[in-house]
C-alpha cells in the first residue's frame, strides 16, 4: 500500500520558492495499475519521484510497502530503490554503447546478484519484452519502441513490487506507444506488481484501475478507488 499524508514539496530557497506538491493525502492499494494524470507542471512527476525515493519531501509522510520513506537513511533508500522498485522513463535512458544484456544486467550488478544467476534472469526479462533474440545487440541500434521495451526489461529483471513509469509513451508514436502500454499491462497481469504510470494521455489513464488527477500540486480528484 502507498500511504501519503500531508505531503508537501517546495523547491527553491527563501524568497524564491515554488510549491510542486501541496499537502497531498492519498492511500493507494497494492497490485493495482495507477495513473497519475495532470498537465505539464502539475506536480505529477514530482509525486512519482517522491514515491520512487529519488527526492525527499519538504514535509509530510510517505509510506510504501510498510516503509516510511521519510525515515530511511541514504543507504536504506538506495536499497529500497534497487530491491523494491523498477523505473521506466520517458527518455528510455538505455546505455547506448552497452549491449541489451548489459543494460538489463545493471540492476542485478547493483544488487550483487551472482553472475551464475544473472544470465537466466536477464534472458527471462528480455524474453518477456520480446527482445530475447537481441541480447548481444548494442542498445543504441534499437528503435524507440525497442529501447522502451529494453528499459521495461531492466525495470522488471529484479522482480520489483512497484514499477514506476514516467510518461513511458511520451517519446513514441501512438502505435508503438500502445504496444508499450499493452506490454506493461500484460506484465502486470503476470507479476501483479503495483504499476504507477504518470501520464497526460487520457486514453492510457482510462485503462488504469485507479486515476489520480493532479492540478497545481494538489489532488483534484481520484477515480477508481473503492470507498
Amino acid at each position: 500500500m502507498i500511504q501519503i499524508a500531508h505531503l508537501t514539496k517546495i523547491y527553491g530557497k527563501k524568497g524564491n520558492t515554488s510549491s510542486a506538491i501541496n499537502d497531498i493525502n492519498l492511500e493507494l492499494p497494492d497490485s493495482k495499475i495507477i495513473a497519475i494524470v495532470g498537465k505539464s507542471g502539475s506536480g505529477k512527476s514530482t509525486l512519482l519521484h517522491l514515491i520512487g525515493g529519488l527526492d525527499r519531501p519538504t514535509s509530510g509522510e510517505i509510506s510504501i510497502l510498510n516503509k516510511d520513506l521519510t525515515q530511511l537513511s541514504k543507504k536504506e533508500m538506495d536499497h529500497y530503490r534497487s530491491h523494491e522498485l523498477g523505473f521506466v522513463f520517458q527518455s528510455f535512458f538505455v546505455e547506448a554503447n552497452q549491449s541489451c544484456y548489459q543494460n538489463v544486467a545493471l540492476p542485478l550488478e547493483i544488487n550483487r546478484i551472482p553472475v551464475a544467476k544473472r544470465k537466466a534472469l536477464v534472458e527471462k526479462a528480455l524474453d518477456q519484452v520480446e527482445l530475447g533474440q537481441k541480447t548481444k545487440v548494442r542498445a543504441g541500434t534499437l528503435s524507440g519502441g525497442e529501447k522502451q521495451r529494453l528499459a521495461i526489461a531492466r525495470a522488471i529483471v529484479n522482480g520489483p513490487k512497484v514499477i514506476l513509469a514516467d510518461e513511458p509513451t511520451g517519446n513514441l508514436d501512438s502505435v508503438t506507444g500502445d504496444k508499450v502500454i499493452d506490454l506493461l499491462f500484460g506484465l502486470h497481469k503476470k507479476n501483479k506488481a503495483t504499476l504507477v504510470i504518470v501520464t497526460h494521455d487520457q486514453d492510457i489513464a482510462n485503462r488504469c484501475d485507479i486515476r489520480v488527477f493532479i492540478k497545481d500540486g494538489k489532488i483534484e480528484r481520484v477515480e477508481g478507488l473503492a470507498k
Binding site: 530503490r81 522513463f89 550488478e109
Partner: protein, 429 residues
C-alpha cells in the same frame, strides 16, 4: 556492486572510448617512460661505478694524499706561502705532495700492513727486436688489484727485471701472441729531465688487457708494469734534480684485514687526524653514486613534471567523462547504486588509465633499452657493460606508483559524480 563488476564495467567504459583512453594514458606513458629509463640508467651507472671501483681500487686499502684538500677540491690556483711539500700540477695549480718520509711515516700507523706508491713515469720509448719504438710509461705492479692477464702468470709480486706488457704492444713490437711473447725481452729507454738517458731491459712475465671498467683504460694500454723497485728507480732517475723528485701525489696504504670496514675506517680516521687525506674504495664508490644520484634526480624531475602534466590530463579526461555521462550516472543512482559505488567506478576508471599508461611507458622503455643498450655501450665506451639496467621490482613499483597517481587524479571527478543529484542528472539533455 561487487569489485569484479566494478572493474569489468570500468574497463568496458574505457574500451568504448578507446582513443580518449589511449591519449590520456599516453601522457602518463611519457612520464612512465622517463622514470623507467632514468631508474634503469641510474642502475647501470651505479653498477658500472661499483665495477669501476672494484677494478681500480683494492677494497682493503686507502688512497692517501698529503692534504685533505687534494680530494675533490683539487689544488690551489692562488699564490701560496712556500712549503717544501708543494708541487706544481698542471697549469697554475699547486698541490701538496707526499715525500718518501711521509711514506715511511704512514707505514708506521697501527693497522697499516704496507704502503704502496705506483711511481708512474713517462718513458722515452719501448722497443724490441724489430727495432720499432713506441711511447709509453712505467708503473709499479700492484698484486692487490685484479689485473686482466691474457698471457703469462704472475704469482704475487713481479721479480725485478720483469714486466707485464699491455696487449697493444704485441703487434707493434712484433712479439707474436700473448703466450709466445712470455719470456721475450723488451728495451725501455728513459730520459732524465736534466738530460741523461738510460737503457733498461725487461723480460715479459705477463700480457695485460685493459678491462672496460678501468678509469683510464688508455693509460693501461700504454703502461708497462714493473717490480716496485724498478719502477721507483726509473721514477727517481727521471725526476732527479727536479721539483717532482721524491714527490708523490698519492700512495696506497694497505690495512691489515682491511676488508673489515670498521678496521679500515679506524686506520682512515687516524691517518686523517694526522693531517693526511685518506679515501677508501667505499668513499670513491659513494662519490660516484652521489654524482649518479644528482644526475638521476635532475632527470627524475623532468619525469615528474611530465607526470604532473599527465595527472591533470587524467583529471580533465575524467571530469569531461563525468559531464558526458551525467544521465548514465543519474540512471545508476535511480536504480539504487550508492554514491560510494558511483565514485568507485570513476576512481577505478582512472586507475585503469594509470595501469595502461604505466605499462605502455615502462614496456616501451624496456624494449627501447634492450634495443639501444649495445649501441649506447659502444658510444660511451662501456665495453660489455650496459647503461640501462632494468630491475623488475623497480618496474613493478613504478607501475603501482603511476596507477596510484592516476587513481588520485580520479578522486576529484569521482567525487563530482558521486554528488550528482539523480533527478537533475536524469533531466540533463
Amino acid at each position: 556492486m561487487t569489485w569484479r563488476d566494478t572493474l569489468a564495467r570500468s574497463a568496458r567504459t574505457l574500451r568504448q572510448a578507446k582513443v580518449r583512453t589511449l591519449l590520456t594514458a599516453a601522457a602518463l606513458a611519457v612520464g612512465g617512460f622517463t622514470l623507467t629509463a632514468t631508474l634503469a640508467a641510474a642502475n647501470g651507472a651505479k653498477d658500472y661505478g661499483n665495477k669501476l671501483v672494484n677494478t681500480n681500487f683494492d677494497p682493503s686499502s686507502l688512497i692517501v694524499t698529503k692534504s685533505q684538500n687534494t680530494f675533490g677540491r683539487g689544488g690551489s690556483n692562488k699564490p701560496q706561502p712556500y712549503s717544501s711539500s708543494y708541487t706544481s700540477v698542471g697549469r697554475n695549480s699547486l698541490v701538496k705532495e707526499l715525500s718518501s718520509s711521509d711514506l715511511k711515516r704512514l707505514a708506521k700507523f697501527p693497522g697499516v700492513s704496507s704502503v704502496f706508491e705506483d711511481y708512474q713515469t713517462s718513458i722515452l720509448y719501448v722497443t724490441a727486436q724489430n727495432g720499432a719504438k713506441y711511447t709509453g710509461s712505467t708503473q709499479a705492479y700492484d698484486p692487490n688489484i685484479s689485473h686482466q692477464l691474457v698471457g703469462g702468470y704472475v704469482n704475487g709480486q713481479l721479480k725485478t727485471g720483469e714486466v707485464v706488457l699491455p696487449q697493444d704492444y704485441l703487434s707493434l713490437l712484433n712479439l707474436g701472441t700473448a703466450k709466445s711473447a712470455i719470456g721475450k725481452t723488451v728495451t725501455v729507454q728513459v730520459r732524465q729531465t736534466l738530460g741523461g738517458q738510460e737503457t733498461l731491459q725487461f723480460k715479459i712475465a705477463g700480457i695485460i688487457a685493459a678491462p672496460s671498467t678501468l678509469i683510464n683504460p688508455g693509460n693501461v694500454n700504454t703502461t708497462l708494469l714493473l717490480n716496485p723497485t724498478d719502477a721507483q728507480n726509473i721514477y727517481n732517475f727521471v725526476n732527479y734534480g727536479t721539483i717532482n723528485y721524491d714527490r708523490f701525489l698519492s700512495a696506497t696504504v694497505r690495512v691489515t684485514d682491511g676488508t673489515n670496514q670498521s678496521k679500515l675506517l679506524k686506520v682512515q680516521n687516524e691517518i686523517k687526524s694526522a693531517g693526511y687525506g685518506a679515501e677508501s674504495a667505499k668513499d670513491f664508490e659513494a662519490t660516484i653514486t652521489q654524482i649518479v644520484n644528482v644526475l638521476q634526480i635532475i632527470i627524475l624531475v623532468f619525469g615528474l613534471i611530465a607526470l604532473i602534466a599527465s595527472f591533470f590530463g587524467v583529471v580533465n579526461t575524467q571530469y569531461i567523462s563525468v559531464l558526458e555521462r551525467t544521465r548514465e550516472i543519474g540512471l545508476m543512482k535511480a536504480l539504487g547504486m550508492s554514491s560510494r559505488v558511483v565514485s568507485r567506478l570513476f576512481i577505478i576508471e582512472a586507475a585503469w588509465i594509470g595501469v595502461i599508461g604505466a605499462l605502455i611507458g615502462s614496456l616501451t622503455a624496456i624494449i627501447a633499452g634492450l634495443l639501444l643498450n649495445p649501441w649506447i655501450s659502444q658510444q660511451i665506451d662501456f665495453g660489455s657493460n650496459r647503461l640501462l639496467v632494468f630491475h623488475p621490482s623497480q618496474v613493478i613499483a613504478l607501475i603501482i606508483f603511476l596507477t596510484l597517481v592516476a587513481t588520485i587524479a580520479g578522486l576529484l571527478p569521482a567525487r563530482k559524480a558521486s554528488k550528482l543529484d539523480p533527478i537533475e542528472a536524469l533531466r540533463t539533455e
